[in-house]
Amino acid sequence: MSEQNLFKVTIDNITIDVPAGTTVLQAARLIGGQVAPPAMCFYSKLEGSGGKCRTCLVEVSKGSEKDPRPMPKLVASCRTTVMDGMEVKNITSEKVLDARAGVVEFLLLNHPLDCPICDQAGECHLQDLSFEHGKAETRYEFQRRTFEKHDLGKNIQLHMTRCILCYRCVFTADQLTNKRVHGILDRGDHAEIATHIEKSLDNEFIGNVIDVCPVGALTDKTFRFKNRVWFLKPMDAHRDCPTCSGRVTLWNRGDEVYRVTARKDQWGEIEDTPDGKPGWICNTCRFDKKATSDWTIEGPREISRQSVIAQGHYAGNIGTTKPNETFKAVNDGRTPHLLMDIHDESEVNQPNIHLGQIQGPSHGDTFNTNNTHKA
């Protein structure tokens, strides 16, 4: 990249040089951390995605070096390309945070709060977003929009009630597969993702719609209700697959493979394979190869996302260390006076039992005080 093609852009007072044509969102992701705006609909691997959810709105306080006027409205950072000398405010702008809180509220209006029974919980982008930018209570007092569940073929279930209409799956079905039978019906708040009249989606790569879905609207039927993602141990693995790259993440518990997904980066997007192509995986790898013997295991997968799934796995390996700010440390050596110690009341989750060392699914027996299964 020659010197002329690099644009200087300042996001939240951090300056970075990026190639011309980069979007504000991608420039912010290069800086990383909290500077990167959240994105529910943008997916860098899908052409034409983005601009719809409005969570990535940012304020452009200076258009460019040539034209320093600020942009009159907040702009969607995922679809706005950088200009030389552009100054962008993300988390330093009150306006942005206010608008974003509004968008989160809008997204949650019709979203069922069924996280406790939703398979996406723990790795859900909407969960993360509402945790960061949302409010604890809702101001919506009307009935939420609901839909019947639909099966898109034997392996995928569509639960429109949870959908936030990000259009990612539509783009995926359109761009990865040959036959387009998957789109949006109706408009406004009664719009729905649908295949035209209950058709199944049968294509070797259609399973990828599950990976791109930011919420739990599209779920893997081979994994539905089998386990919570935070109980599973992600493992990088590969196999010699004739249709796809065969590079996947296995989600294991003990020796059992509970589900197979593509490898995802810290933005929840599919990682590229070493040859630079997006690492979409085929249906055979995803749905059928559910035995450890099918795979060559490379080692533990580091989950670098700020999410529940990143917690508790392989402590130390991915930077999840024990916090230093214990009660004792912050209270000048005094220990808190507990009204009740849960371990005196319940036998579950005792501090002397290391969850990581339990083989296979845990049962009540595992935690019985009489049980010898202790670390």
């Binding site: 959810c53 509004g102 968008v103 406004g188 708040d189």
Partner: protein, 450 residues
């Protein structure tokens, strides 16, 4: 009697047909443009005329035309936006129904100015019978050598196609219109790129309103400077206003933008006063999406000056005390009209017409409708008014296309100017179901600080 440029021949019998239209001086502008002028000079003439887009936003047409990209070997297109779906606006319908050849004439001249050989009229699905009228007019024009190849021996080719939409308000937004014209779902595109760079089939495109394109005809015939002398300030030329609501003479009127709002409502030449001798309560001066104004702010600005029917005067005071000329859908409400019910009707419309692409508009319009429904039916609380205000604030400006703004503005203006009527509705849940808040103080002269 004001100047009439578009509708001056509207009452001639059989003007819809080609014979009479031509006899009355039709297609003169095409002769002048193609033989005596070149595309650059036409654009220059339109710039001089100061013509502003008649579809609602009021963007200068000449400037819009000069933005069109002209890459080598790529066809350009002109699209006529006849998807007139704004509640209260029906001026284009009148124009196309009675003067179809005037639109065609404007389209041929404009196509020549833009270098567009294939030109489309995107007409709303509900105007089925007008589609037939336009098709017939196109056939007549073709038979007489005004369309097709080698028009007037100049080598210029122009074809006009009529494309019927399926009746979606959102397809009046230019990029949604383009998507729909291409045969896709009518979702607005994310801009940039603007249609002037990548429009229909990724080719440079200009989308103009029916009235704008018709106004090109008098501009060419009389010259841009002459045209600019009509009207006042930056509101040049004439404007079609479709007046409706509680008035004696609803209909389409051509005004020269120098008359006052009061004259327009009460003069016998135009609306002819409020029906049944009642009092004026409020008015939506530019189609359903512009802010509603109470009678006192409608007739006089906040600084006590007379308000005129033009772009500047109607938007005097910004949204705090003003409104917009918009697309010219002039909706008058008398003292018996309920603002809450009126706002609910508008909110229901926008909820139904939101495309559902971006979240603030998709979810926000439905939420606003539900709250307004609750208030209208006597179940509201005072907190609901503030909630409505907060919702509209979070929709406005945060959406892909202006439909979000259009849905937010009427609600915002209704609360801004008629908050006490909302409160009355909430405080009198039973009474409000059977009676009306009435005129109250909405017509009282406002105090102007010295």
């Amino acid at each position: 009697m004001g100047v009439k440029l578009l509708l001056d021949k509207a009452n001639v019998p059989e003007i819809r047909g080609y014979e009479v239209y031509r006899r009355e001086g039709g297609y003169r502008s095409v002769e002048k443009a193609l033989k005596e002028m070149n595309p650059e000079s036409i654009v220059e003439e339109v710039k001089k005329s100061g013509l502003r887009g008649r579809g609602g936003a009021g963007f200068p047409t000449g400037m819009k035309w000069s933005f069109i990209a002209k890459p080598e070997g790529v066809p350009r297109h002109l699209v006529c936006n006849a998807d007139e779906s704004e509640p209260g606006t029906f001026k284009d319908r009148y124009l196309m129904e009675f003067l179809p050849h005037l639109l065609l004439e404007g389209l041929i001249v404009s196509s020549f100015a833009l270098g567009a050989n294939d030109t489309y009229i995107y007409i709303r699905g509900e105007y089925a019978w007008i589609t037939d009228i336009l098709e017939e007019a196109i056939n007549e024009a073709k038979a007489n050598g005004w369309l097709g190849k080698n028009i007037l021996g100049t080598g210029f080719e122009c074809n006009i196609y009529v494309h019927r939409g399926a009746g979606a308000y959102i397809c009046g937004e230019e990029t949604a219109l383009i998507e729909s014209l291409e045969g896709k779902r009518g979702n607005p595109r994310i801009k940039p790129p603007f249609p002037a760079i990548q429009g229909v089939w990724q080719r440079p495109t200009v989308v103009n309103n029916v009235e704008t394109l018709a106004a090109i005809v008098p501009i060419i015939n009389m010259g841009g400077e002459e045209y600019a002398k009509i009207g006042i300030g930056r509101s040049t030329g004439t404007k079609l206003i479709s007046a409706c609501g509680n008035i004696n003479k609803p209909g389409v009127y051509e005004i020269d933008m120098t008359i006052s709002v009061e004259e327009f409502i009460y003069s016998d030449e135009y609306c002819g006063g409020i029906k049944g001798g009642k009092q004026l309560k409020a008015c939506i001066p530019g189609g359903s999406s512009v802010p509603i104004l109470p009678a006192n702010l409608l007739l006089k600005t906040a600084t006590g000056e007379t308000r005129y029917m033009n772009y500047e005067s109607l938007s005097d005071g910004g949204f705090a005390t003003g409104s917009m000329l918009g697309s010219g859908g002039f909706i008058v409400l008398d003292e018996d009209q309920c603002i809450v019910k009126n706002t609910l009707t508008l909110a229901r419309f926008y909820r139904h017409e939101s495309c559902g692409q971006c979240s603030p508009c998709r979810e926000g319009t439905g939420w606003m409708e539900k709250i307004l429904h609750k208030i209208e039916h006597g179940h509201g609380t005072i907190a609901d008014i503030d909630l409505l205000w907060d919702i509209q604030r979070k929709i406005e400006g945060n959406t892909i296309c202006p439909l979000g703004d259009a849905a937010a503005w009427p609600v915002a203006a209704a609360i801004r100017h008629f908050r006490d009527e909302f409160e009355w509705h909430i405080n009198n849940p039973v009474l409000s179901q059977t009676s009306n808040f009435g005129l109250q103080h909405y017509a009282d002269p406002i105090h102007v600080p010295a």
